[in-house]
């Protein structure tokens, strides 16, 4: 890991003023968040607040702590320091309002189960101990599969699905949770064009339904097209705020340590010329 240039993190305050006279709490507020795995620091002193109803991209180089940030917010990894609030309350009290799409590679797709069964897992939290999913749950799961264009594959063994289809099954599993806030770990990674369109459309639908989405994203080219807020991360927070204010060549330089891969440079050139995304 290269040292990150010392630079005060630039954070734009959530526009509570524009969201009405009664200031609603931020969807996610992270304060002084520090995570270390066995003395190896992964995230240092991260602070930001994300307003509700936005599509937020978390970007940064490999090993920047993007996935760890999501897991720390969800309470899946212990915090070394700092605190997290979801809609003004601790995450453990807000489980029912949070949906999660883990990285596709995090599970064994040869597991003996079908797409519908995986989507039903999204309802296990609601069912609690010992209750089995019934007809109502199955209907909801089928609806969620239909929403991502996977209704025809409900009974397909998950290992026989393409990568994009597997990703859509994971999205359907989160949709069936009917959450207010979704965390997605690289939903666009390694998917086909049709799936990318489906996911992009789904993100817009979620936003119009007033939901908040926080997604780890790796493709700088599409940040402007798909998201309206960004969190730039490289162990420390580089910047967090609306895309048009924060997604700047300077911030990208800081985030990626000044040595940008070719694709990133291309995106940066486009930004500098002011063409943005098409």
């Amino acid at each position: 890991m290269k040292p990150v240039p010392q630079m005060p993190a630039q954070t734009v305050a959530p526009p509570t003023a524009t969201s009405g006279p009664t200031a609603s709490p931020p969807a996610v507020e992270v304060h002084d968040l520090t995570v270390a795995y066995h003395t190896q620091p992964v995230l240092w002193d991260v602070d930001f607040a994300l307003p509700p109803g936005r599509l937020v991209a978390v970007i940064g180089p490999n090993g920047a702590g993007k996935s760890t940030l999501l897991k720390a917010i969800l309470g899946l990894v212990p915090l070394t320091a700092g605190w997290v609030e979801i809609f003004g309350r601790p995450p453990r009290e807000q489980r029912a309002r949070i949906g999660y799409v883990p990285q596709r590679e995090s599970v064994d797709w040869d597991f003996p189960t079908d797409a519908l069964d995986v989507v039903l897992m999204g309802l296990y939290g609601r069912l609690g101990w010992f209750r089995r999913p019934g007809r109502r749950e199955r209907e909801r799961a089928l609806n969620a599969l239909a929403q991502v264009g996977m209704a025809a594959f409900a009974r397909r063994q998950i290992g026989q699905l393409s990568g994009g289809q597997q990703q859509r099954v994971f999205l359907a599993r989160a949709l069936v949770q009917d959450a207010a806030l979704y965390f997605m770990d690289e939903p666009f990674a390694g998917v086909d064009a049709a799936t990318e369109r489906t996911i992009a459309g789904l993100l817009r639908e979620l936003r119009s339904a007033g939901k908040t989405v926080v997604a780890v994203h790796h493709d700088l080219q599409t940040v402007r097209e798909y998201f309206d807020w960004v969190v730039l991360l490289n162990l420390r927070l580089v910047a967090a705020g609306p895309v048009e204010q924060v997604f700047t060549p300077e911030n990208l330089h800081t985030t990626y340590g000044g040595r940008l891969p070719v694709l990133t440079q291309a995106a940066e050139t486009r930004l500098r010329r002011g063409t943005g995304s098409d």
């Binding site: 066995h38 897991k71 969800l74 309470g75 899946l76 453990r92 489980r95 029912a96 949070i98 999660y100 883990p102 995090s106 599970v107 064994d108 597991f111 003996p112 189960t113 079908d114 069964d117 995986v118 897992m121 999204g122 296990y124 939290g125 069912l127 101990w129 010992f130 089995r132 999913p133 063994q157 290992g159 599993r173 949770q177 965390f183």
Partner: protein, 433 residues
């Protein structure tokens, strides 16, 4: 087999005990296998040994319930120790299992050796727990084993959905707020019970096989976790009964190892024969694919030979056809026979020519090939002398809808990368004027 039961009433008890053991370890073994914890059962079984010895030492009783209670306690402690090492240190699972297995088993062997010199130890037969001794099962033991098995299977049925979540996606479960650590402790406890059930019958050393073999065998036949668990339980019970009966057929045949061999036999058959996942199936599919490739190549060669004059009525001999790709003539003759049986070729003396339907099929293959070449050259900017080999492979596997999409993408082309015509499905078969 029936005479074996009639001659030996004790065989009923042995078979019933072995069936209980197979049923429980088969069903629960599925979760160990799916969680890639196949060796956990091995560590737990070995960890049980000092418990058996301590229980005898402290109570002086050789009743199975007392000894199994000791085994249960020791194996459970071992299991918790494994989970604790995984949570509290940077050690990986294999190291944690190795530590627990060797420490507990070493301690067990020391105790066993020390106890051998006590006056009544020889009758207690503690060493039978090493390799199992099913013949010693009495009805009283069966009641204990039956109660343990029923309890373990009941908990499995109740918490099936939780165990599935744990095995498939533990982190998602934690994000849902499910107590994944507690669920893991419950599942591990059930595994301990399954291991304990087999101690007297199969023994410490071979017990892991009863958790692994039926589960892996069952996975071969089904893609549903529920059916896999039922099937693994059934195969485990079947192996148990088979091992018990086999051991009764001759003198000095040990039950435990025979049960394990029966389970391994079931596993071998499943690995070989199961549809889709079996080795025979895979071999057959590969063979079918190779034969299809050879047939389609030969059709395409015949098409290309007739292409210059658009005259496909001319017949060609096997030797000439073999020369096109430098294939053995015998192989080409076999392929020609397959094509004739499909009605795609007809014989003209010792030579062969395409029938009407054969020409249609040949045209399809050549079309796939040339469209794919063109796609690679135009869309992926590959040099035109680099695209042929790739197209040779793709022409056999492109589905019709992809071909239609390629055609549309490339603007319904008439000429390929090398300037040759791209045949279309409905073309006339006569020679061009």
């Amino acid at each position: 087999m029936f005479t074996a039961f009639a001659d030996n009433p004790n065989l009923w008890y042995v078979a019933a005990g072995s069936a209980l053991l197979g049923l429980t370890s088969g069903a629960l073994g599925c979760f160990a296998v799916l969680r890639r914890q196949s060796l956990l059962g091995d560590a737990l079984a070995h960890a049980a040994l000092p418990g058996v010895c301590l229980a005898f030492w402290l109570t002086g009783s050789k009743s199975l319930s007392v000894l199994l209670a000791g085994a249960l306690a020791a194996a459970w402690l071992g299991a918790l120790w494994v989970l604790g090492i995984l949570r509290g240190t940077r050690l990986k699972e294999d190291a944690a299992l190795g530590i627990v297995l060797s420490v507990f088993f070493g301690g067990g062997i020391v105790l066993l050796t020390a106890l051998q010199h006590r006056p009544n130890a020889a009758q207690a037969g503690l060493d039978k727990f090493l390799f199992g001794q099913a013949a010693a099962l009495v009805p009283e033991d069966l009641r204990v084993l039956g109660a343990l098995a029923a309890a373990a299977l009941a908990v499995l049925a109740l918490a099936f959905k939780e165990f599935k979540l744990l095995a498939f996606d533990r982190e998602f479960g934690a994000a849902l707020g499910r107590p994944m650590h507690r669920i893991e402790v419950v599942l591990t406890t059930l595994l301990v019970v399954a291991v304990i059930l087999g101690l007297q019958t199969v023994g410490v050393v071979l017990m892991a096989a009863m958790l692994i073999a039926p589960a892996v065998a069952a996975r071969q036949w089904t893609d549903s976790l529920g059916r896999m668990v039922l099937l693994a339980g059934g195969l485990g019970a079947l192996s148990g009964v088979a091992g018990a009966v086999l051991s009764a057929l001759g003198p000095h045949l040990p039950t435990g190892p025979l049960i394990v061999l029966a389970a391994t036999g079931v596993l071998g058959v499943s690995l070989a024969l199961a549809p889709r996942r079996g080795l025979v199936w895979a071999w057959w599919r590969l063979r079918a694919h190779r034969r299809q490739v050879r047939r389609e190549n030969l059709l395409a060669d015949l098409y290309r030979l007739g292409e210059p004059g658009r005259d496909w009525a001319q017949a060609h001999g096997p030797a000439a056809l073999a020369g096109v790709r430098g294939l053995p003539v015998g192989q080409v003759r076999r392929t020609l026979g397959q094509l004739r049986r499909r009605g795609w070729l007809e014989a003209a003396g010792a030579r062969w020519r395409l029938t009407g339907s054969g020409l249609t099929e040949a045209r399809r293959v050549v079309r796939n090939h040339r469209l794919w070449e063109l796609f690679l050259a135009r869309r992926l900017d590959l040099a035109s002398d680099h695209v042929h080999r790739d197209a040779e492979e793709m022409e056999h596997t492109l589905p019709p809808e992809v071909v239609a999409e390629l055609d549309r993408l490339l603007g319904q082309p008439h000429t390929g990368t090398h300037g040759e015509p791209i045949p279309r499905p409905g073309e006339r078969n006569e020679p061009s004027p």
